[in-house]
């Protein structure tokens, strides 16, 4: 039997996700809602000895009328009993400190006629504000079970379980709906119910008002509803406004009966005092800038010891394996192919963990909403909007979730522009490339006592990415005209202490996703590359080796081995490929070895480093255990000048190239999915690549 579905519904910031984490813990899964690419979080919750239910966390909404794409999912499920996620029991999580506004959504869900439970959360916050909510009276007034919970501590989870069990055995349905559309438009509701076989008045109203967004209705059904609307001369905007006003009027009555509010009038809360500083014209921006600086310091400086530890560990393991295993192609594959690839992935875990730790702390505390407010005016100048800040900041971690986060931007044009420019923000996959190249050409010194020069160079690259994103947005704003109006009506949540289990889960999820999703690609490409670099067409490789032995009989054994190794690489499939594209990248200062890495990194940027380690550990002979990729790059000589290959000009040209280049297939796929067209990913690919080539060309030519 299919497990019963329990849907969690609620306003943003009502504690829905905390409750979800309490109920499911680490057993939760992230997937997609069928038909849409919206993240669907679900997990098992055993409600009694025999039954394990599936809890589904629906996106937070203020009302059943969606204002953006991600909110659409909620109505799409609740209005369609055939939907696989249609709940057997709906739990509406309600913030007791703001009962008034939270009850709007609750009454809408209850009026749809689902078995509903009200989970009354944040009673402690209400208490702090000198408000007391009488749960028993609330249950009597609403006609549904009300359970007092504390989603942060998990208090009340047992009572909630019992309430769900009871709702399943003998459902208590809310009696009289709070708002009955048949009072206002009896003929339209009756005809819609008859024509579409519906039994619930409020559901019929949803068909009438929202049918354009319902994916489960076909063309003909939608046309039928349009005809009904025209026949009954129904005007949806005033009707909907009337509904909201009526609901609030009745809710206000309930709230006065169940809430005792003893708050002294005019006493500013903690949040209000904090806001005075955080939204201040000078302090607001100063604090935001300092927080950004802190994030970069954490990523670059604090993560370094952990990264060095992983680096040394992998090098040591590699050495041990080479000593204990018999030499041969299989051992080489294991050490130089697979282990080098895995090392290249593992080493970035500390940075990704730090980044997500800080970003989720900012989200959790409520600070991120303040950032949106102080940035909105500036962002608007560039054709973006305050909500674009979260995608842009998330873009520092990874462009794929960042592009998905643009769904909360209600305006289509703002959203499209945000999608197109987000990949210009330097993502964590670029970090490995930045780190290695910066370490090669920028000295590790301190200025002003605290700032590492390397950290500042890194920050400059990130700023370059940000600036180019803003400029690109500005240009796009001039190109893409729209009549649609954007809006920025947003709740400023009260400041809260972060929930550490939440933050921990976010960090764990992102690290896991990086290691598994990106890691598999990187590992596969590392292995393929190793094969391509070790074998060549016909006996070219043997011939290259023999040629070296013949022509250079006087070399010392070490030099001879190095020479042979690099000639062998040049004769391999990978080498031939690199040579093939060399003419195109020569003006940027790159040789065929870098060419191989560039091509392979199109799958994902982080592959660049894996490829470089594969190429160079093959290229320089493999007896030098414990030597990291950074040291190998430093040893690399330019064959024509004899000086170091990685001059500042080359390194900066590469750095600049990676700031702009659209080297990520997953991002293009995400853009394709989100814009539902091939036009926009193509535009994105072409403009970013042209930018990268041009900027890298200029950098190299000016510095060389």
């Amino acid at each position: 039997m299919k497990p019963p579905i329990i849907a969690l519904i609620g306003n943003p910031n009502a504690g829905k996700s905390s409750l979800f984490n309490q109920l499911t813990g680490l057993r939760q899964k992230t997937g997609n809602f069928p038909g849409v690419t919206m993240d669907r979080k679900s997990g098992p919750w055993s409600i009694d000895d025999q039954t394990t239910a599936t809890v589904v966390d629906l996106p937070g909404v203020y009302s059943i009328y969606p204002k953006s794409l991600d909110e659409q999912v909620v109505t799409d499920i609740l209005a369609n009993p055939k939907h696989p996620d249609y709940p057997d029991v709906a739990i509406v999580v309600v913030d007791a400190s703001n009962l008034h506004r939270n009850l709007l959504l609750f009454t809408q869900v209850a009026d749809l006629g689902l078995p509903t439970i009200l989970a009354l959360n944040m009673l402690d916050v209400a208490k702090e504000q000198d408000k007391d909510v009488n749960a028993v009276r609330l249950a009597m007034r609403l006609g549904v079970p009300v359970v007092r919970i504390n989603a942060r501590t998990g208090e009340g989870a047992d009572a909630l379980r019992k309430a769900v069990m009871k709702q399943r055995q003998e459902p208590v349905l809310p009696g009289k709906p709070l708002f009955d559309p048949a009072d206002e438009a009896p003929a339209l509701i009756a005809n819609t119910k008859a024509q579409y076989g519906l039994s619930n008045n409020y559901l019929a109203l949803q068909y009438v008002i929202q049918h354009d967004g319902f994916t489960f209705l076909n063309e003909q059904q939608r046309k039928g509803l349009d005809t009904l609307i025209a026949d009954h001369d129904f005007r949806e905007v005033p009707f909907q406004a009337g509904e909201t006003i009526t609901r609030y009027k009745r809710i206000a009555q309930i709230v006065t009966e169940v809430v005792t509010d003893q708050r002294p009038i005019g006493k500013p809360t903690w949040t209000q005092k904090l806001d005075r500083v955080l939204l201040h014209p000078i302090w607001g921006y100063t604090i935001f800038a300092l927080i950004l600086l802190l994030i970069f310091q954490a990523i670059f400086a604090w993560a370094a010891p952990f990264m060095d530890g992983i680096d040394t560990g992998v090098a040591w393991l590699n050495g041990q394996l080479k000593e204990s295993l018999p030499p041969g192609p299989l051992t080489d594959l294991l050490t130089d192919g697979i282990l080098a690839g895995i090392g290249g992935i593992l080493v970035f875990i500390p940075q990704i963990a730090f980044l997500f730790l800080l970003v989720s702390l900012l989200e959790e505390s409520g600070y991120m909403a303040r950032v949106m407010v102080i940035m909105d005016r500036i962002m608007r100048k560039f054709g973006l909007n305050g909500r674009s800040v979260v995608p842009l900041i998330s873009g520092v971690a990874c462009a794929v979730p960042a592009i998905m986060a643009t769904r909360s931007i209600g305006t289509r044009r703002d959203r499209l522009i945000t999608i197109l420019v987000t990949p210009l923000m330097s993502c964590s996959a670029r970090l490995p490339i930045y780190t290695i190249l910066i370490a090669l050409v920028v000295p590790s010194r301190r200025v002003l006592g605290i700032f590492n020069v390397q950290g500042l160079a890194l920050m400059a690259l990130y700023l370059l990415g940000l600036l180019s994103a803003l400029l690109a947005a500005y240009v796009l704003k001039l190109i893409l005209k729209t009549k649609e109006r954007g809006y920025f009506i947003m709740e400023l949540p009260t400041f809260k202490l972060p929930r550490w289990n939440h933050v921990g889960l976010t960090v764990w999820e992102s690290v896991r996703a990086f290691v598994w999703e990106a890691g598999r690609v990187i590992l596969a490409i590392s292995i393929i590359l190793w094969v391509l670099a070790s074998y060549g067409p016909g006996d070219d490789i043997q011939q290259a080796e023999e040629a070296v032995r013949r022509e250079q009989p006087t070399l010392s054994p070490d030099d001879l081995n190095n020479r042979i190794a690099s000639e062998r690489l040049e004769a391999s499939y990978a080498g031939k490929f690199g040579h093939f594209i060399e003419p195109a990248i020569r003006p940027l200062g790159y040789d065929w070895k870098i060419g191989i890495a560039l091509l392979s990194s199109f799958a994902a940027r982080e592959v660049f480093v894996g490829t470089m380690s594969t190429i160079y550990s093959i290229g320089s002979g493999s007896d030098d255990e414990g030597v990291t990729i950074r040291e190998r790059l430093q040893q690399e000589r330019n064959p024509t000048t004899g000086g170091p290959m990685y001059t500042p000009a080359l390194a900066w040209s590469l750095l600049i190239f990676y700031v702009f280049a659209m080297m990520c297939m997953s991002t293009l796929a995400a853009t394709q999915r989100e814009t539902k067209s091939w036009k926009w990913p193509t535009v994105q690919l072409i403009y970013m690549m042209a930018l990268a080539y041009g900027a890298a060309f200029l950098t190299y030519q000016l510095m060389a």
């Binding site: 209000q272 909105d376 400023l492």
Partner: protein, 74 residues
């Protein structure tokens, strides 16, 4: 014309919502608890005076100045 809107309020100033002059925008504002007859208080303004933060029905709501201008007050 002479009607004042929420956008004209000074920080800390209170007013009572009378009506809206933009139907579509009013739907969203109503859902967020900006109801005719409700008291609002200008909480704070972002640098450059836009967006603004409004205290309404027990919480803090931010919106752009142009959106606040659609809420008429007495």
């Amino acid at each position: 014309m002479s009607k004042r809107s929420v956008a004209d309020l000074k920080i800390g100033e209170r007013a009572v919502i009378q009506a809206f002059n933009d139907e579509v925008m009013s739907l969203k504002l109503l859902e967020m608890g900006c109801l005719p007859g409700a008291e609002v208080c200008m909480g704070s303004k972002a640098p450059l005076g836009d967006p603004i933060c409004l205290h309404v029905s027990g919480y803090c709501l931010s919106m752009r100045k142009s959106e606040a201008a659609t809420i008429l007050v007495d």
